[in-house]
Symmetry: C2
Subunit: 768 residues, 2 copies
C-alpha cells in the first residue's frame, strides 16, 4: 500500500518510470548464481590466507614465533603487525584515530583486546595447509583481567584497555572534543542540551525514570568477509573485495601500507549483505602484505566463527531515561544517559543514539549524556541506523509507559509532542520538510491500530523511529550514450539493496527512457570518480542526484548536437518528455533514440560525468505496529500481525522500498526477541554459529505489511528519501511495548527471550 501525501518537490503524477516495478538489472545474475561475490575469485597461482586469532579476551603479546609455521611445506609467508607500515612507523599516524586503529584491529600490535583478535596470518598453497600452519605459530601471551562490558569498564579502578586513552568531552555533535586528560576506558563523552531540564521537570505533572539495556548483537549478513589481493612487485596493488565502499577501502589500505592511493585499485565484488558492517575491511591490508611477500595473489575468506568473533557487531548499551509531562501530554523535559560499548577500540555509534533518541519530538528541555566505552569485545561496527535502535528502544519504551501513566493513547502522546518543520532538535538543527506528523497520522488512522486484539495474553505495541540520514561524502556518476539510444550508467556505489535499478530509474526518468534502456554498472576505483561508501541510506539519493546531474549534461550535449543538425543555437533546443524539439521550428524533433543514432556523425558519442557532494538526504520517520500473543507457559512470542510505515518521499522502485521495510523490521524483531552474544566470564563468545546465534527465520514471522508514505523531499529533484535504515529502529521498542502490554510487565532489557519473559512473569506473580 502506498499513501501519497504530497509531492511538492517532484511533479505529482507525472513520473513514468519512478514508482514502477521493473525487473532489476542484476536480478537474473543473482538468481542464477552467475553473480560473483567476494569468495568467487580464482586466479592462476593464487595462494590462500588464513588468520591466527587470540584465544584470550585481554592479553599482552610477549612474543610471536613463526619459524615452525614458515617451515611447513606449502607455507609461503607469515605476516604479523610488523608487516604493517602504519604500526611500525608510528610517525605515519601518531594519534589513536583512524587507520592506525584499523591496522591494530587487522593484526594486533602489542596487545590483544578481545577473543578472536587477529594476531598473525599465513599464506599457503591450500587453505588446509594455511590452517595447519596457524597451529604452529607460538604466541607467548601475558593474560590480563577481562573487562567484559561497560559496567566493569566504567568501575572505579577498572583495568584499562589502552595505556594512552584519555576521555574526550564534547558539547556539540561534530566537535573533536576536549581532552580531559583522564586515563579511562571512556573514550568520549558527548553532552547535548537544550533549555533547562531541572526547570522542565519542575513543570511536569508526571515523571518516569527507567533504565534500559541491550546486548551485543551482529548484523548477520550471509556472506562472510572475503577478498583477494594481488600486489605486482614494484607495481600496483589490486584488491577484489566485498565491501560497502571501495574508495574507503582504498584510503584505509593506502594509509595502513603507507603507499599512495593511486597505486591501489579496489575492484568491487557483489556483496552478500553488509548492513553497515562491511564499511570497514579487515582482510585487505593483510592479504596485500601476504601478496607482496609471496609475489602471488592471495585469497582470504572468513569462517562464520571469524565473522562473529573477529568483525564488528553493534554495541551493547545501557540507557537511563527520565521524562516528564504535563497532564495534557506535553513533555516538559527529557534527560537521557546513554552508555554505548565500543568494543576494543573507541568508536561506538553513540552519537547516532544521542542525536536521534527524542529528536522526533518538540521538547524544550533536553539533556543527553552519551558515553563511548571500550571493553574486551570485538570493535563494534556500523549496523543499519547505527546506534538508533538502542536509543529508540529506550525512548519509545519510555513514551509508551508515560502514555499509560497519563492515561493517553500512545500515538496521541506522540502526536501531541511531534516536531514540525522548523522546530529544532537537541542537535540544534531545525527539522526540514519531513513527514513526522504525517507518518504518525497514517499510523494512527491505519486499521491495524484499532483492530480488536481478539484474545488473552495479547498485546499491541507501537513505536516510531527517527533518523537524520547520513552521508554527504559525495557520489560520482558517468553516462555513456549508445548508438541505439540506450545508455550505460557507471557508478562507484556498491549495490546492497537494489540501488542499481533505483538509480537507473532516475536516469531513465530524466532521459525519457525505460528502466531497461539504462544499463547500470558498479565499477572499480580506477574507473569512476570518487564516491563515498554505501551507507547512511544515502545512495539512492546522493548517487541518484549525481546520476541525474550526469543525465542533464547528456541532455545538454545532445541538445547541442540537435542544434548543429538544425542549424540553430543550443538555446533553441528544448527537451520535453523525452523529445528534443527545435523551438524555432517545432516540426524539427528527435526522440532520444533518433538523436543517439546521429551522434557518431556529429562529433562522436556523448559521455558525461557528474558529482554530487551536497548530500543531505535528510531525516525521516518510520514506525511499526506489532500484535503479539505470549504463551505464559513457555514465554514464546507469536507475532500475530505486523505493519511497518515509512516516509520515503517518493518510492523509486516500491518493491525494494518494501523489501527494506520488511528486512529492517525482521532484523529489529531478531534484536528485540532473540539475538545476543553469549560471553563466558573469560570473554569467549559461546554461540558463534548461525545455529546458536538465533536470527529470525521465515517460520518465526508473519507477513510484514508495508505502508509507504510519500511526503516529497525537496532536496531531491524527484522527492526521494533514503529507505535503508529507518525500518530497523522502531521494531525494538514496538516489540517491547507489545510484549510488555501482553504480559503486563515492562520489559526493559533486550532480548526479550522466552526465558526473560518467564522470569518477568514469575517476578510479577511473586510481587503480587
Amino acid at each position: 500500500m502506498t499513501t501519497t501525501i504530497d509531492k511538492t518537490a517532484g511533479t505529482p503524477g507525472k513520473y513514468k518510470v519512478l514508482g514502477t516495478r521493473p525487473v532489476r538489472h542484476d536480478g537474473i545474475e543473482k538468481v542464477t548464481g552467475a553473480a560473483r561475490y567476494g569468495a568467487d575469485m580464482n586466479m592462476p597461482e593464487m595462494l590462500h590466507g588464513k588468520i591466527l586469532r587470540s584465544p584470550h579476551a585481554h592479553a599482552r603479546i610477549r612474543s610471536i614465533d613463526t619459524s615452525k609455521a614458515e617451515a611447513l611445506p606449502g607455507v609461503m609467508a607469515v605476516a604479523t603487525s610488523k608487516d604493517l607500515p602504519i604500526i611500525q612507523a608510528r610517525e605515519l599516524n601518531p594519534g589513536q584515530g583512524g587507520p592506525r586503529l584499523l591496522a591494530e584491529n587487522d593484526l594486533a600490535d602489542k596487545k590483544v583486546l578481545y577473543k578472536g583478535h587477529a594476531v598473525a596470518a599465513v599464506a599457503a598453497t591450500s587453505p588446509h595447509i594455511a590452517e595447519e600452519a596457524l597451529a604452529l605459530i607460538a604466541v607467548d601471551y601475558e593474560v590480563l583481567p577481562t573487562v567484559l562490558g561497560w559496567r566493569e569498564a566504567m568501575k572505579e579502578g577498572a583495568t584499562l584497555l589502552h595505556d594512552n586513552l584519555t576521555e574526550k568531552f564534547s558539547a556539540t555533535r561534530g566537535g573533536a572534543g576536549e581532552d580531559t586528560g583522564n586515563k579511562s576506558n571512556v573514550a568520549s563523552h558527548l553532552q547535548l542540551k537544550m533549555g533547562n531540564v531541572e526547570q522542565g521537570f519542575k513543570e511536569a505533572d508526571t515523571i518516569l525514570e527507567r533504565e534500559y539495556n541491550t546486548q551485543t548483537i551482529h548484523q548477520g549478513y550471509i556472506e562472510p568477509f572475503a577478498c583477494t589481493a594481488q600486489w605486482i612487485p614494484e607495481g600496483r596493488l589490486t584488491i577484489w573485495t566485498s565491501t560497502q565502499g571501495i574508495f574507503g577501502v582504498r584510503g584505509n589500505v593506502a594509509a595502513i601500507l603507507n603507499i599512495p592511493e593511486s597505486m591501489i585499485k579496489i575492484v568491487p565484488m557483489e556483496i552478500g549483505g553488509g548492513f553497515g558492517g562491511k564499511g570497514t575491511g579487515y582482510l585487505e591490508p593483510v592479504a596485500a602484505v601476504l601478496s607482496k611477500k609471496t609475489g602471488h595473489p592471495i585469497k582470504m575468506v572468513m569462517s562464520r566463527k571469524e565473522v562473529f568473533e573477529g568483525t564488528g557487531p553493534s554495541s551493547g548499551t545501557s540507557i537511563t531515561v527520565k521524562i516528564g509531562a504535563k497532564k495534557d501530554g506535553t513533555i516538559t523535559a527529557a534527560q537521557l544517559g546513554m552508555i554505548y560499548e565500543a568494543g576494543a577500540y573507541p568508536g561506538s555509534p553513540m552519537v547516532g543514539g544521542v542525536t536521534s533518541a527524542v529528536s522526533a519530538y518538540k521538547i524544550d528541555n533536553v539533556l543527553i549524556d552519551g558515553y563511548d566505552v571500550v571493553c574486551n569485545k570485538p570493535k563494534t561496527a556500523a549496523y543499519r541506523a547505527p546506534g538508533h535502535p538502542q536509543a529508540a528502544f529506550a525512548a519509545e519504551s519510555a513514551l509508551d509507559e508515560l502514555a499509560d501513566m497519563l492515561g493517553m493513547d500512545p500515538m496521541d502522546l506522540r502526536l501531541k509532542n511531534v516536531a514540525m518543520e522548523g522546530d529544532r532538535a537537541v542537535t540544534g538543527v531545525p527539522h526540514a520538510h519531513v513527514g513526522l506528523k504525517e507518518v504518525m497520522d497514517v499510523m494512527k488512522a491505519h486499521p491495524h491500530y484499532t483492530a480488536p486484539l481478539g484474545g488473552p495474553n495479547r498485546g499491541r505495541g507501537v513505536a516510531t523511529g527517527y533518523r537524520l540520514n547520513g552521508g554527504g561524502s559525495g557520489s560520482s556518476a558517468t553516462i555513456n550514450v549508445l548508438a541505439n539510444g540506450t545508455v550505460n550508467l557507471t557508478t562507484g556505489s556498491m549495490d546492497l539493496s537494489g540501488t542499481r535499478v533505483a538509480i537507473a530509474m532516475q536516469v531513465a526518468e530524466t532521459l525519457g527512457l525505460t528502466a531497461e534502456e539504462v544499463t547500470p554498472q558498479v565499477v572499480d576505483t580506477d574507473s569512476v570518480g570518487w564516491t563515498g561508501g554505501s551507507g547512511g541510506s544515502r545512495i539512492t539519493f546522493d548517487t541518484g542526484r549525481a546520476s541525474i546531474a550526469a543525465a542533464q549534461l547528456v541532455i545538454e550535449q545532445m541538445g547541442a548536437r540537435a542544434a548543429r543538425l538544425w542549424e540553430v543555437q543550443p538555446e533553441d533546443v528544448e527537451f520535453v518528455d523525452g523529445i528534443f524539439i527545435c523551438t524555432k521550428n517545432t516540426d524539427d524533433k528527435f526522440t532520444f533514440k533518433e538523436l543517439a543514432g546521429k551522434l557518431m556523425t556529429t562529433g562522436g558519442p556523448v559521455t558525461c560525468s557528474a558529482m554530487d557532494t551536497q548530500g543531505g538526504v535528510g531525516g525521516a520517520l518510520a514506525g511499526n505496529i506489532f500484535d503479539v500473543e505470549v504463551d505464559p507457559e513457555t514465554g514464546k512470542v507469536d507475532i500475530l500481525r505486523s505493519t511497518v510505515f515509512l516516509d520515503i518521499g517518493q518510492a523509486a522502485h516500491p518493491s525494494y522500498v518494501e523489501g527494506q521495510m520488511q528486512g529492517g523490521t525482521l532484523q529489529g524483531i531478531g534484536w528485540a526477541l532473540n539475538e545476543e552474544y553469549f560471553f563466558t566470564p573469560e570473554g569467549v563468545m559461546a554461540n558463534s554459529s548461525l545455529l546458536d546465534y538465533r536470527m529470525p527465520t521465515s517460520l518465526d514471522l508473519p507477513m510484514i505489511d508495508t505502508v509507504i508514505i510519500e511526503y516529497a523531499n525537496p532536496r531531491h529533484p524527484y522527492g526521494l528519501r533514503g529507505a535503508g535504515e529507518h525500518p530497523i529502529i522502531a521494531p525494538l521498542p514496538a516489540m517491547a511495548n507489545a510484549v510488555s502490554r501482553a504480559i503486563g510487565v515492562r520489559m526493559a532489557t533486550l532480548p526479550i527471550s522466552p526465558g526473560a519473559i518467564l522470569e518477568a512473569i514469575e517476578k510479577k506473580n511473586t510481587n503480587k
Copy 2:
C-alpha cells in the same frame, strides 16, 4: 638516434614528458606474468569449446549429424550455423557484406571454402572431451574442385566459390562500386588514374615492365585467439577476449546474434600480438551461442594449427609494373595491375596497395588496376599496413631496377620524383605536411648508405614505404583526478604496442604531471565511450587527441575551482607550466597537486570525458637500408647491417617507436626471405606450425639500427604521427633489392628463400 627536423606544430624543445623514456605502466605486470591474456580466464562452472574444421578446401555440406557427439558423456552442447540468427534469418542481412560473411566464416553455412573452415562447435566439461566429440560429428561433404589461388580463380571458366558473387567496379577509392553483373571470383576491381599513361610512356626514354609475386603469409602473433563468453539466461552477454577492438567485436556479435549492442559487454584481455589480424574475431559468437545453450561460461582457445588454417593471413599477390622515365630520372608514367587474393570471402587489402604503391612520388600519369579475388584459402585479414608491403615490393623493386637502367643512384631517383606538400597522389588527395623528402634526405645522408660493403657476394638494398594512416573511427577518453594530484586515464584502446604509456605521456604533458602520475587503463565496452579499434597506426594519435581534450576539460574545471577559492572569475585563472595562476593576483598560485587536494571541498572530484572523431593521423614515410651477404653455395642470406628510418612527427616514447621500427623491419624480413604458406594441391597447408612456418628468430638478425625523424604533424597538438605500420613496408623491397644486387639477379618473387636464390643463380649462370 633521433633527427629533429621541424617541430612547427608542437612547441620545440619544451616537452617535459614527451620524448622521454619512462617505464611503461603495464611493464611490470607483463614481465612478471601477472598480466592476463585471452586464455587466462577461469570461471566457476566454466565449460570448454572446440571447433570442428573442414578437411576439404572446397566442398558443399550435404548434412551434419551431431547426435553421436551430443550423446558423449561430458558434452553439453553442439552448435552449427543453424544457431547463428544472421545466417538463419537472411532478412537480417540479405547482402554479401559485413557481419553475414563473418558469421559464415565463424561457422560455415552451406559450403566450406577452405581447409580449416569452421563447421561445428562443441562445449564440454573438458577440452579433451570436446575434442573427442568433434570426431563424432558426421559431416557429409560433396567435395568440389579447389581454386587455390588468383591464377586458377581468374581463369576463363573457373569454378566459382560463391553462387551469387558478382564483380563490382569502382573508379574512386571509397566508392561502393558499380555491379557489373558478371558472376566471377573477382569480387571487385578498383581503377585509379591520373593523367594519361599512354602519353606518359611516349615521353619516357626508358621503360621497365615486370611482374612481382608474393605468397600467403601470416601475422605470426604469439597469442592464439582465445575468448570466454557468459550469456546470462534472458540477460546480458559478457565476452572476455583478446582483440584489437572491443567495440568492433560488440557490433559484430550483436549483428550475428541479432541482439542489441547494449545487451553485450566486451571485456578486453591483454593481447599477445595482433598486427591487424585480431581486428576480426572468430570465436566470440560461437562461444556466446554455446553459453546460451548450456547456461555456462564457455572458454575457447585456438591451437596454433587453427590459427594458421582458420584465421586470416595476408594476401598472396601478383603485381605487374610498367614504369617509364626520362634520362634525368623524371618518371613520366606508371601503370600497375595488382591482384590480391582475398581468400574465401571478398575483402583483401587491395585498396591499401593501390593507394600507396607509387603515392610517395609525383608522377603525372598513373593508371592502377586492383583486383580483389576469392579463392579456397582462409579469408585474409589485415596485417600491419594492409596491402602496402606487397605493393611496395613491386613498386620499389621496379624503381631500383629503373635506377640501374638509368645509371642513377636509387635514392637520387626517388628524390628526383618525391612528392611535396600539396602534390596530389593517384587517390586525388594532396599530400599534407609530411616528411617524404626529409626522410629520403636523411637516408641518403646516413653513413650506412655510403659505407663500403667490404666483400664479395654482398649487396646493399634501399627502399621506402609510404602509407596514409587510417582510422578516423573515433576514440573516447575519461580522466579522473585523484586527491593526491595523480589522475586515472580510462580509454577503450587495446594496447598492442605501448599505447598506454604513449597516451598517458600526452596527458602528463598537458597537465604538467610526470608519466608515472597518470595511471592509464583500458576498460570494457560498458565503461568508456565508443572507441574504434587499435589499428591504422591511429591510437597514439586519435586516442591521444581525445585524452588531451579530456585533460583540457580537467584544466578548465579545475581552473573554475581555483577561481572559486580565489573569489575571481574562471577567466581570471591561467594554467601555465602545470601551475594555476590568478591573473588578478599573481601571488595566488596552486600546483596541480595542491588544487587536486582541494577538490573534495569545492564541489567534489573532477571527472572529464572527451571524444575525438576527426582522426586523420595522415601519411608518413619510412625507409630501410640493408646490407646482405649471400652464400652462393647454400643460398643463405646473412644480414650484415640494417637501418630503419621513420618520420614520427614527434616521438611520444622513443623506445616504443624504436620497438615498432625494429619489429616492423623484422616482420618485413621474414616476409621477404622465408615466410609462406605451403599448400598441397588439395589446398591443405603443409607447414601449419611455428616449427615449419619459418619466422625470423633473433639468431637470424643483426642489430636493427633506428633513425627517428621528427617532422611535426600539424594535425596533432604535439606533432605526433603513427608508428605502428610503416616499418613493415620497405623491408620487402629493400631486402629484394639488396639480395638482387648481391647475386646480380632480380628477385621478383617472395619469399627469397635459399632455394629460390640457388635457382636464380643457376638460371643466371645457365643463361650466360
